[in-house]
């Protein structure tokens, strides 16, 4: 084993919390003095060691009410407890964040609030995933098993993230103009109803547009047989739509200002609108889109500090407070943890803890088609 490899193993042990910082630096210093060098790889490792017990870790999320909930209920108490500051950044989508990560150095970005199994697989396939030491996250035992299993399958039994919450992308509609009965009767086809031309919205994300295009053309989104029929539905929706929204804040603004009467929407954001007094209905149609969100730890991050933060965030008190703040049910298993009074009232909440009633993106199927479909959607969106 060469020296570099030996030092890297030493660093890994340190990052995993197996040895203390003092021991690590002492061993490294002694080795450096023996070798008569203090620059080059030794210097880099010392710097890396500093990062492993950092003064701060970086967390990137969706912004808005979600970030506010994290800041208030998770990061501030964590900093108070550990002295490690959580620097919080935001992104508009996992694609945008991936582009940033791709152009960064390992360790620059640490934790991210990623959507669904699809993004987990994508980041993992791009070799951006870390390997969590689950012994350092005892609260992982309280998480719904059905949320963990799909992640393990992707990363060969290991985990690079902990599931944190789940929700649905259902149909949101203004009750002044659309009744609950009409929404239930028409389901996903409400968004391609000519009667609401110019008052329809939609998320400008190719996956969601294709998912709903599949539902509108009576197909299984995870096994589309006639993709042309899906594109036709997307075209129809495009021609009827006033605006494709690009963020949760924009979704809320469009509905609240009555620019649009119907769109698909994120369950938590719609609940936030309802809590603000807006008469917005929400309905998960048959085959409606469910998703889970996880806190993903990127390769090169200070693992011990990140694992400590993950465990802290999964503490029932913290996870429930965040869930109530962001209006998405936590990933905690209701059979194992008492979730209080508010959580069971949140949209998409599953008291059984099995999530059997929800449909999720099949990561293998969607990742396989990602390059072609995302490109094609860009054209269809523009009138082609």
């Amino acid at each position: 084993m060469d020296d570099t490899k030996r030092y890297e193993r030493l660093l890994t042990r340190f990052k995993n919390g197996e040895i203390s910082r003092r021991t690590f630096l002492t061993v490294l210093g002694a080795a450096g003095a023996t070798a008569g060098i203090m620059g080059g790889p030794m210097g880099m490792l010392v710097n890396s060691a500093k990062a492993a017990t950092p003064e701060q870790v970086r967390f990137d999320g969706w912004g808005g009410v979600v970030s506010e909930a994290f800041e208030k209920y998770a990061f501030a108490p964590y900093t108070q407890k550990t002295g490690i500051k959580v620097v919080s950044g935001t992104f508009g989508g996992a694609d945008e964040y991936l582009a940033r990560v791709k152009s960064s150095q390992p360790g620059e970005f640490n934790l991210a609030h990623l959507s669904g199994v699809f993004d987990y697989a994508r980041y993992h396939n791009m070799e951006l995933s870390s390997e969590l030491n689950e012994d350092n996250i005892p609260n992982l035992k309280t998480v719904i098993p059905n949320l963990i299993t799909p992640l393990r399958k992707i990363s060969n039994g290991k985990l690079s993230a902990v599931p944190y919450d789940y929700g649905t992308t259902g149909i949101a509609y203004n009750r002044k103009h659309i009744s609950d009965d009409e929404a239930k009767a028409k389901g996903a086809k409400l968004m391609v109803d000519d009667a609401y031309k110019g008052k329809i919205g939609g998320w400008a994300e190719w996956k969601t547009r294709i998912w709903y295009g599949a539902l509108q053309s009576d197909q299984n989104p995870n096994d589309i047989q006639d993709i042309e029929a899906v594109w036709d539905m997307i075209r129809k929706h495009r021609d009827l739509a006033l605006k494709y929204w690009t963020s949760g804040a924009e979704l809320m603004s469009l509905l609240a200002e009555e620019e649009i009467y119907v769109t698909e929407g994120w369950s938590g954001r719609i609940r936030a609108l309802q809590d603000q007094g807006h008469d917005i209905g929400y309905y998960d149609p048959k085959g409606g889109l469910g998703w889970q969100e996880c806190i993903f730890v990127l390769k090169g991050s200070p693992m011990a500090a990140c694992e400590e933060l993950l465990n802290f965030m999964l503490e029932p008190d913290v996870a429930i407070a965040v869930a109530e703040g962001q209006s998405y049910p936590p990933a905690l298993d209701p059979k194992k943890v008492e979730l209080g009074k508010v959580i069971p009232t949140l949209p998409a909440f599953d008291p059984s803890g099995t999530l059997d009633g929800l449909s999720f993106f099949d990561p293998a199927y969607w990742n396989k088609n990602e390059a072609d479909w995302s490109k094609k959607f860009s054209r269809v969106q523009r009138g082609y």
Binding site: G93, D95, E96, L98, A99, K102, R122, N125, M126, G198, G202, A204, W206, R238, A241, L242, K243, Y244, T246, S253, E257, E258, E259, K368, E370, A371, S374, K375, S378, R379, Q381, R382, G383, Y384
Partner: protein, 291 residues
């Protein structure tokens, strides 16, 4: 000895230029070369880049009617914006240049004020003005002119409006600088020779202010053609500009090689325009407005 002096004199301009050349090289030329190199790579199915020399991206960008149409749409929107900016911007520039008010500096400062507010915030302000429950609809409803709110947002017109709002100060400043440099005696001479006010403006002031108008137009056109925020905020599903395609290729599709090729195409078009402008009018006019 004479040869040494001649050699030193030959080197002197390069030594003096070296800080500028280094800066331009490091911050402009080298990054640009990276983009050129990237445009010949390929994106693999996993999203990783395949290094090599492939012409696929260029073939796609240059032969696909989709990119051509969006490019023409972009140039069309940029042209409309520039024309409106020229007409609307000339009037305040003329007023500021010819005002006898003592607070001319204050007027110029007011022209600069919009730059103190984020471009995104300025663009989003139109949602509060033109939205269904915005100020204009509120006023029209209150005045009884309409019975229900009008849909005024999220179309190509609002994109042009947002761009005019953003770019108007650039036009006004350029025209103002040009008008300010015109010798007032010339218009007085024209009037003393029988021209009325409008004729003096048409025959003397307007032609002499043309370089400023052209410089402002060039700036407005180039900046308008390169924007992607305005159509994102104020446009409908179809209202994309070329820069939106670059954004989507790089951010959404993670296809940096294709995004590089697209950005170079846009650069070539806009660069070509600057070259034509420089050939006939010179770039020094643009620099004047920033002095």
């Amino acid at each position: 000895m004479a040869a040494d002096i001649a050699s030193a004199q030959k080197r002197a301009p390069w030594i003096l230029l070296s800080p500028s050349l280094t800066t331009i090289g490091l911050l402009l030329v080298i990054p640009m070369m990276f983009i050129v190199v990237y445009s010949f790579w390929l994106r693999t199915a996993t999203g990783a880049d395949q290094v090599g020399f492939y012409l696929d991206n260029w073939q796609e960008v240059l032969s696909d009617v989709f990119y051509r149409d969006i490019l023409f749409q972009t140039l069309k929107i940029a042209l409309y914006t520039t024309i409106i900016c020229a007409f609307v911007g000339y009037i305040p520039a003329y007023f500021v240049a010819n005002t006898k008010m003592r607070s001319k500096t204050l007027l110029l400062l007011m022209l600069m004020l919009p730059f103190w507010i984020s471009y995104i915030i300025r663009t989003m302000s139109w949602i509060n003005i033109l939205g269904t429950s915005g100020a204009l609809n509120g006023l029209l409803l209150w005045a009884g002119i309409i019975d229900s709110p009008l849909n005024m947002l999220y179309n190509q017109t609002t994109v042009v409006l947002g761009l005019v709002h953003y770019l108007l100060p650039f036009m006004i400043l350029n025209v103002y600088v040009s008008l300010e440099g015109i010798d007032k005696n010339l218009t007085e001479a024209a009037e003393s020779l029988g021209c009325n006010g409008f004729q003096a403006f048409r025959e003397v002031t307007l032609p002499l202010s043309f370089p400023g108008l052209a410089a402002g137009s060039l700036l407005c056109f180039v900046l308008a053609a390169g924007t992607y925020i305005t159509p994102l905020i104020l446009g409908g599903p179809r209202d994309a500009m070329f820069a939106n395609l670059v954004y989507e290729a790089i951010i959404t599709q993670l296809n940096w090689p294709l995004g590089s090729a697209l950005s170079l195409v846009l650069l070539a078009f806009l660069g070509g325009l600057v070259v034509i402008y420089t050939r006939y009018l010179g770039v020094d006019q643009i620099a004047k407005s920033f002095r």
